[in-house]
């Protein structure tokens, strides 16, 4: 088990390296003039531009810039925002936790909707609940997150005034963004839960347990759940990545102070270090989550460890 984890970890290293290379190229290619941005697009003296560019090592040969970039990365230095001159790492440090909290909340909500719904749908296969939940899941899965968010904002925020529409001020402002993300992700997870339970419930040991006289509830909670869990865990892990990835649209719609909104603002403002830094952090997080999911899968299912 530790051997598998180590192998997977080592396999991740070249990917991380590849990403930094890709993002470095991005840093060079992204439009935006750092010196002018730092001076706020006023017309400064040429000497001022010279000084700034000298400090930013923009004119050094590419390989040297890449070396500086990597060594800075290893020290945890992601550069400074062109616009505000604040260290990118502090900007990320302020915004990332907000996104993570939202993602975790959405994941919890998603699981608490999907697992019961899917299980009940599987138990009462073909019933109204089953078919209704499938229809709901299909519709939700076809809706773009930002559209669902907009609808929620319109109905719950503006018309009914139950919940705050934007920002992260009060606890109640967490409700809408988290619910929207949870619903879209739950659409897929519910189907997975349902089919996983259907598979397990058809197995012989369930029939045997019934024949032995165990109550339905005990069978469901103790035996079926444990065995149905494997694909559910995988998808839930993948969904965490999805939630992080869909953060941009959701955070823009709800004006949530997270890393997605920050990234988007930086893209609009051509603030290259923030774009690259934020993307790097999100990608690294994504890889980490996928890695953990893989390891978790291997721990639960020994057959996975054999083929790498």
């Amino acid at each position: 088990m530790p051997a598998y984890a180590l192998r997977r970890l080592l396999a991740t290293a070249p990917i991380l390296f590849g990403i930094t290379l890709l993002l470095f190229i991005l840093l060079q290619v992204l439009p935006g003039d750092p010196a002018r941005m730092a001076t706020g697009y006023r017309t400064p003296a040429p000497q001022a531009l010279d000084n700034i560019e000298g400090r930013m090592d923009i004119r050094a040969p590419l390989y040297r810039q890449y070396f500086n970039y990597i060594s800075a990365l290893s020290r945890g230095d992601l550069g400074r925002s062109y616009r505000t001159q604040r260290p990118v790492i502090s900007i990320i440090g302020e915004t990332l936790p907000n996104s993570l909290v939202l993602a975790m909340l959405a994941l919890l909500l998603e699981m608490s909707i999907s697992i019961p719904a899917g299980a009940i749908a599987a138990l009462k296969r073909g019933s109204l609940f089953d078919r209704g939940s499938i229809v709901a899941a299909t519709l939700l899965g076809a809706t773009p997150i930002f559209a669902l968010g907009l609808i929620f904002q319109l109905v719950l925020g503006v018309r009914l005034r139950w919940l705050p529409v934007t920002g992260a001020g009060s606890p109640s402002s967490y409700v809408m963004p988290a619910t929207v993300m949870a619903l879209v992700a739950a659409a897929y997870l519910t189907r997975v839960v349902r089919s996983s339970f259907l598979d397990v419930l058809a197995k012989d040991y369930i029939t045997a347990a019934r024949a032995n006289g165990l109550s339905e509830r005990r069978i469901l909670l103790v035996h079926a759940l444990k065995n149905a869990l494997a694909p559910i865990v995988t998808v839930a892990g993948v969904h965490f990545g999805f939630l992080i990835g869909s953060a941009v649209a959701t955070e823009v719609v709800f004006n949530w102070p997270g890393i997605g909104r920050q990234l988007f603002a930086a893209v609009m403002e051509r603030d290259r270090p923030v774009v690259v830094g934020a993307t790097l952090v999100i990608a690294a997080l994504f890889i980490l989550v996928n890695l953990l999911v893989d390891i978790l899968q291997a721990w639960v299912n020994p057959r996975v460890r054999a083929g790498l």
Partner: protein, 276 residues
């Protein structure tokens, strides 16, 4: 054959049929956009700004007096074209690479899969957004961006299929009989890989459509004044208080389109499974 007999068989093919009908209807509307609405989607009319749905403008007008129905069906053209184009490009890149990785194995496999992993390291929508920041907005760029982050998944599916198939005994027999790698791939491996790739591509179509809508909504996709469902939604949101009907057209359109593709994908998946 595709539907199967009996109650369960008909229910299974129902998804396929509904999905097909929805998608076909959308295509017809998009292709016949000029017939559906005689208005020019780009033509502004300051006299008829923000009209409610009515006799002259079936879905009303937007803030610049452009007919909403016209913008909806012409937007369908662009959005569908971008979605299909990007998936076609994904297949064009991903299928050969995945098949090569699966067939040759070894270093070819490792190299291709590592490249795929680098692109897979980014969440799909995020990668597209960042890439758009570099190459600039516009329909063609959206197409490329989507294809660039989508091909690895197609490659993976193709690779898995080819690996499964290539391990079978009859392939070894053909090799012994002197069949070239190209012949084996073309005649035996690819036809068997096509099924799952097709199913996955259809799901990919709805993802591509959703992502394009998101990009246009954020303002970095298909640029105004050209109509696109995502940017129409963005406009609609800005005018929500005074013109709430604006959100209906593009909203329903996006959901319906994705629904159609998803149903088609699932229907195809299920009928392929029945066949074994």
């Amino acid at each position: 054959m595709l539907g199967g007999r009996g109650r369960l068989g008909r229910a299974r093919s129902r998804k396929l049929r509904i999905g097909f009908i929805i998608v076909a209807a959308l295509f017809l509307l998009a292709a016949g956009a000029d017939i559906v609405s005689s208005y020019d989607p780009l033509r502004q009319d300051n006299e008829a700004v923000l009209q409610t749905p009515g006799a002259t403008h079936f879905l009303g007008t937007d803030s610049l007096g452009r007919d909403n129905l016209a913008r909806l069906v012409h937007g369908a053209r662009v959005s569908l074209a971008v979605a299909i184009g990007s998936v076609a490009l994904m297949i064009l890149i991903g299928l050969p690479l995945g098949a090569a990785a699966g067939y040759f194995g070894g270093i070819v496999d490792s190299a291709i899969m590592r490249a795929a992993d680098v692109f897979l390291a980014f969440p799909f929508a995020l990668g597209a957004i960042v890439l758009m920041a570099v190459i600039g907005p516009g329909a063609a760029n959206v197409l490329v961006a989507l294809a660039l982050f989508g091909w690895p998944q197609i490659a993976r599916v193709a690779r898995a299929q080819v690996m499964n198939e290539a391990a079978k005994d009859y392939v070894a027999a053909v090799k012994v009989a002197g069949g070239s790698a190209w012949y084996i791939t073309r005649r035996h491996l690819l036809p068997n890989a096509v099924g799952p790739v097709a199913v996955f591509s259809l799901t990919g179509l709805s993802t591509a459509l959703l992502t394009e809508a998101t990009l246009s909504f954020l303002g970095i996709g298909i640029q105004l004044p050209y109509p696109a469902w995502g940017s129409m939604l963005a406009e609609a949101v800005g005018r929500l208080a005074i013109a709430p009907w604006l959100i209906l057209g593009p909203g329903v359109a996006v959901v319906l389109a994705c629904l159609g593709f998803n149903l088609l994908a699932e229907g195809l998946h299920e009928s392929l499974q029945i066949d074994g």
